[in-house]
Symmetry: C2
Subunit: 129 residues, 2 copies
């Protein structure tokens, strides 16, 4: 048994000025921007969320600007396998998370739980035998 839910909206920005990009999205969405705790995560800014609202990250990327979603889960491998059974495919493993591609073409990530309220609202899944 594992659990998952929509965790984060990631706003991928093809930019050399991550702080300016984060400042726009922070003001647009009415959320304060901040750095992540891990210095290795310098290409991200998080936008502060009230309560259990969906998390929002602004990321500096080299590819074209876009938006992707992260599915958060307490068992990445079991969740990736569940999504594979639904038709998604693995693209690449990055640190602890997986980049996947949906049958409808969008890329998304499968990550560890990122925001509060996971135990209460994540959907529980029976793992395949």
């Amino acid at each position: 048994m594992h659990a998952s839910r929509l965790g984060t909206v990631v706003i991928d920005c093809c930019t050399d000025d991550l702080d300016a990009a984060a400042a726009f999205w922070a003001a647009a969405l009415g959320r304060a921007a901040g750095k992540l705790d891990d210095p290795q995560d310098g290409n991200y800014r998080h936008l502060e969320a009230a309560g259990d609202e969906v998390a929002v990250l602004v990321q500096a990327v080299a590819h074209a600007s876009r938006v992707h979603i992260d599915i958060e889960t307490d068992d990445i491998e079991a969740e990736v396998q569940r999504l594979e059974r639904l038709g998604a495919v693995r693209v690449a493993q990055v640190k602890r998370w997986w980049v996947m591609e949906a049958p409808t073409g969008q890329r998304f990530c499968v990550v560890r739980p990122q925001r509060s309220g996971f135990a209460d609202s994540a959907r529980r899944w029976e793992d395949a035998p």
Copy 2:
């Protein structure tokens, strides 16, 4: 004075089979898919949200598959003007809502409130004189 917040994650799918696309995303995110009330909205399926969770729509589109966000507001014109002052530009008006483009390149929409809890958690903005 008006208010706005992140309202909806819209999963744009370049597909002739919207129900199959919605079925994948419904299963991936653990939310039931359903049609919208307005028969004119036949190219959308909504994914049921628990409580005040961010809304998710799956939309059949003719352009490449992607994900975009909707900002919901109780005053579309005032919110569009606020976002213009931040550097976003108007792209097109569709029915009652506006498609805009962020300075970082992503398109997003400014729409009427779509999900519950707006009065409690939307950010309030002073309108320009």
